[in-house]
């Protein structure tokens, strides 16, 4: 097969957002992030308000990553709904979802079409609920595709759910943990840590079961798992909210702080020893207990592995591509183990990545926000790093430049087990470290003339 050529001459391009065209985007649209977040709510069917292609494309994209059922409904706009509004389509859709899925809640996100025609979605939902008590509850979030990307869509949806569901009241001995768009394996690990700490927690959104479920004899209309509305209602009574995400300003947890006075503790994603220390210390403090022995042992093994492998990674140059919070956290991890992050790139435009990287102690890396893979590829071609940490969409660049790629984050469309990629905590860091070291070892072994089997 011939080599993929992204552009005839990548050197011609500069990653400048004033450019009129995007080539090989590094982001997808906000409704996809909304659908992902809604998957972490128990008994929820996501409904996309607009043309049905939006729902279908989002399903295909998510299925290709998670390899799990992904029933996402659409209000199936036609030419006439575009002209006269989508109210009747929305009413039909919610009633049909009730009849087919019996959901506890419908997670409604809008598309650019619905937003541009000036649809009063909130008003329509209110009217529907008033007219027919048998309809399920509808939670609504505005996610026009022309604003932000999946990262914003995800967090806006978490914020919308908190705003529309959480209630205030007497404080409970529990915390909220908003982990961000992490993998099902990450969520499972966080739950395990919270259990080890004996800390009651609302870990939200939790799609660890809905998007990484077991083989079944019968198809579940809505996959089991997720956080229930009843539990979400109590989120306003938690002792605090611990929110992961280096670039969030202030992030969805601020909703609870403003409405119900739940203090917000903002932390970076726990990747690397130091970031995991900070995150687990915050959780242990909230629990009022010391760090469990099992976690301390994991930390000890991780540091021991760092020692065993440090020379293989020391001074090696790495490019990191991904969701802004993940990219920043991974760059921090790379710097922690002695690698040199030369490029940290994201398709999102937060305006805060450089600052977040500085807080992680990452200096000297080129930072690209609002970048496309064409621009990122051009910089990678120029910087020639030893390794790329990124999604499968970085593969064409990795292949063209003969640079090994360690797949992380979203999407991973060319391997199985994307939902099982663990990034967080000492354990996730351990897995990442081993893979990074072994990828570099394999690359030098495969490209050497001698090819020793003893390294």
């Amino acid at each position: 097969m011939s080599q993929i050529s992204l552009t005839p001459d990548p050197g011609l391009r500069t990653p400048d957002r004033r450019r009129p065209a995007t080539t090989n985007t590094c982001r997808v649209c906000a409704p996809l992030g909304a659908v992902l977040a809604f998957r972490g709510l128990r008994g929820c069917v996501p409904l996309v308000h607009g043309s049905q292609g939006c729902a279908t494309y989002i399903r295909r994209y998510l299925i290709s990553h998670f390899r799990e059922p992904m029933d996402v409904a659409s209000t199936s706009f036609t030419e006439s709904s575009t002209v006269f509004g989508g109210k009747s389509n929305l009413a039909t859709a919610v009633a049909n979802l009730r009849d087919q899925y019996a959901p506890e809640v419908v997670g409604l996100c809008t598309t650019c079409l619905a937003e541009t025609i000036g649809e009063d979605t909130r008003g329509i939902i209110r009217d529907l609920a008033a007219a027919d008590a048998s309809l399920p509850r509808v939670i609504h979030v505005a996610t026009p595709s022309f604003k932000g990307c999946q990262h914003k869509g995800f967090h806006d949806t978490v914020a919308a759910i908190l705003a529309q569901v959480a209630q205030g009241g007497e404080r409970l001995r529990q915390v909220n943990v908003l982990a961000g768009p992490v993998s099902p394996a990450d969520l499972r690990h966080l739950r395990e840590v919270l259990n080890a700490l004996g800390l009651p927690a609302i870990l939200f959104p939790d799609y660890s079961d809905t998007l990484d479920g077991p083989s079944l004899a019968r198809y579940e209309p809505i996959p089991a798992g997720g956080v229930g509305l009843d539990e979400m209602a109590r989120a306003g009574r938690s002792a605090c909210t611990i929110q992961f995400g280096d670039t969030l300003e202030p992030g969805p947890g601020a909703v609870l702080e403003a409405a119900h006075g739940v203090p917000l503790v903002r932390l970076g994603l726990p990747i690397g020893v130091q970031a995991s220390d900070a995150a687990f210390a915050a959780l242990a403090e909230a629990a009022g207990v010391p760090l469990p022995e099992s976690l301390a042992a994991e930390r000890g093994r991780l540091v021991d592995a760092y020692v065993d492998g440090h020379k293989y990674v020391s001074q090696r140059r790495v490019a990191v591509v991904g969701d802004p919070d993940l990219a920043v956290a991974l760059a921090g991890f790379a710097a922690e183990i002695g690698m040199v992050p030369v490029l940290v790139a994201s398709g999102a435009a937060t305006g805060r990545m450089a600052q977040a990287l500085a807080l992680r102690g990452v200096a000297g890396a080129e930072v690209l926000e609002d970048a496309d893979h064409d621009g990122i590829g051009a910089r990678i071609a120029a910087l020639k790093p030893d390794l790329i940490l990124g999604p499968s969409k970085s593969y064409p660049t990795a292949r063209a430049q003969s640079i090994p790629l360690v797949r992380v984050g979203f999407p991973v469309h060319d391997r199985i087990g994307a939902g099982r990629i663990l990034h967080l905590g000492y354990r996730g860091t351990q897995r990442l470290f081993d893979e990074v070291v072994n990828t570099l070892l394999a690359n030098s072994q495969d490209t050497s003339e001698t090819g020793y089997a003893y390294l």
Partner: protein, 452 residues
């Protein structure tokens, strides 16, 4: 099942006709996509054209390098070019950004033509895409062709028509000198995993010249002279028949509707083409080809068939012509078909499926995951054939699956393709893992091997 959907499902033995060809029911979780998707998939494989999605990032992101459509030369089609419409353009219009995008991209990539796909958003903000394209055509001296693919215009079928209309703008702009009497165009093959190269090799062995392939491994300059061919061979009838009809009316080029999937259909496709040219030598060459190619794959198929005999399959595909071929191909492997559904089948297609299928075969139009999951379980099928969106329905229930959609990377057309298909089906259906899945471990289930 939703009441509103009941008329769209029948069994092949039913006297009543199926209801089809209508918009999807809101909230039914249709497997269909939109008009944009229809246009995008049809034009996608043209490797030396610039494909610019004029709209928000999602439409471009979700269609980046997803088809397994190979190119023997330029691979521009594997990029995702996008005007990335944002709030500013929603307010002030996107025409200027589109013009600037073309001005940026055309000199860099030097395409032979450009297709500009309209999306819901640019449709609703009222961008005059046609005017911008006219300007760019004059400025760059290559055809810059608008595709009226706003998602809300209708179903995928409308998108096919919009794509055909775009192709029609290219045809009849090239020199047809030198095109011989034994010449054809191939319409509706998208060169998934190199399939069109297989088909072209058959046609060439028959003594035919392929003028243009639309759109698998398609080239702008070939398409421009497509009106010089003497016959159009239409494979994916749903997407390309409208173009074939237009070419018949305008240029007097007759067309044949064929399928290259399955031994039976592939052989009859080649015979039909040969018959059209009424050339005895060609007919003889075709006979020899079919004999030779069939003999090459039959032993392996017979071996695979032994393990597949009596197994039950279900299929849900985009167009009906593929469904016809699959029913026949599965039969050739000794398998029964319990369910056959399509996204875009027409009335007469379902009537033909009725003839092809067993009386109790479920025929479904525009189905959804819940319906399909129920049928797969009730009919205890061993194999489901579909695309990426159907795959998790099968896999979650512990059922074998074969991808026959455009994302696949394995060629299934032609005689060799049928052998590959048989291997695919065999590999999944005979896997030993099925004895471990819950549906094979329930009490009362016939196959309980491996249960403690």
């Amino acid at each position: 099942m939703l009441d509103a959907r009941k008329s769209q499902v029948i069994t092949a033995g039913d006297a009543r006709a199926i209801v089809c060809d209508r918009p999807s029911v809101a909230g039914s979780v249709t497997q269909r996509a939109c008009t944009f998707c229809g246009s995008r998939v049809v034009l996608y494989p043209i490797g030396d054209a610039l494909h610019l999605v004029h709209g928000p990032v999602g439409c471009a992101a979700y269609t980046w390098d997803i088809r397994g459509a190979l190119s023997s030369g330029m691979q521009l089609h594997r990029n995702s070019f996008n005007t990335d419409i944002r709030e500013n353009e929603v307010i002030f219009g996107g025409e200027k950004k589109l013009a600037r995008a073309l001005r940026e991209l055309i000199p860099i990539h030097k395409p032979k033509a450009a297709f500009v796909y309209a999306t819901c958003l640019t449709g609703v903000i009222g961008d005059d895409v046609e005017a911008v394209c006219r300007g760019a055509t004059a400025e760059f001296g290559i055809p810059v062709i608008p595709v009226q693919s706003e998602g809300f215009r209708g179903t995928k079928k409308h998108g096919y028509s919009a794509a055909c209309a775009a192709l029609a703008q290219l045809i009849d702009s090239g020199d047809t000198t030198g095109i011989g009497p034994f010449s054809v165009n191939i319409l509706g093959d998208f060169n998934i995993a190199g399939e069109i190269w297989t088909i072209k090799s058959y046609l060439q062995r028959m003594g035919l010249e392929v003028v243009a392939s639309m759109t698998g491994d398609g080239r702008v300059d070939d398409i421009r002279r497509a009106h010089g061919a003497k016959l159009n061979i239409v494979q994916c009838a749903g997407s390309m028949t409208s173009l074939a009809k237009m070419m018949q009316e305008k240029y007097g080029i007759p067309y044949v509707q064929v399928s290259f999937f399955g031994l039976e259909d592939c052989a009859s496709a080649l015979y039909e083409v040969a018959k059209h040219f009424a050339d005895l030598a060609m007919l003889e060459r075709t006979r020899a080809l079919v004999r030779e190619e069939t003999a090459a794959v039959l032993p392996e198929m017979a071996r695979l068939r032994k393990d597949l005999e009596g197994k039950v399959a279900a299929l849900y595909v985009g167009g009906a012509f593929k469904a016809f071929s699959l029913v026949k191909a599965l039969r050739q492997l000794g398998m029964r078909v319990a369910m056959a559904g399509t996204q875009t089948g027409a009335q007469q297609d379902y009537e033909h499926l009725k003839e092809l299928c067993d009386a109790d075969t479920i025929l479904a139009d525009d189905s959804n995951p819940l319906e399909m999951a129920a049928w797969l379980a009730a009919r205890d099928v061993d194999l489901f054939i579909g695309g990426v969106k159907e795959r998790p329905v099968a896999y979650k229930l512990g059922i074998g699956f074969c991808d026959h959609n455009h994302e696949r990377k394995i060629g299934l057309a032609g005689f060799v393709g049928m052998a590959a298909f048989a291997r695919e089906v065999h590999a999944t259906v005979t896997s030993p893992i099925w004895k471990l899945v819950p549906r094979r471990q329930r009490p009362g289930c016939s196959n309980t091997e491996g249960t403690p």
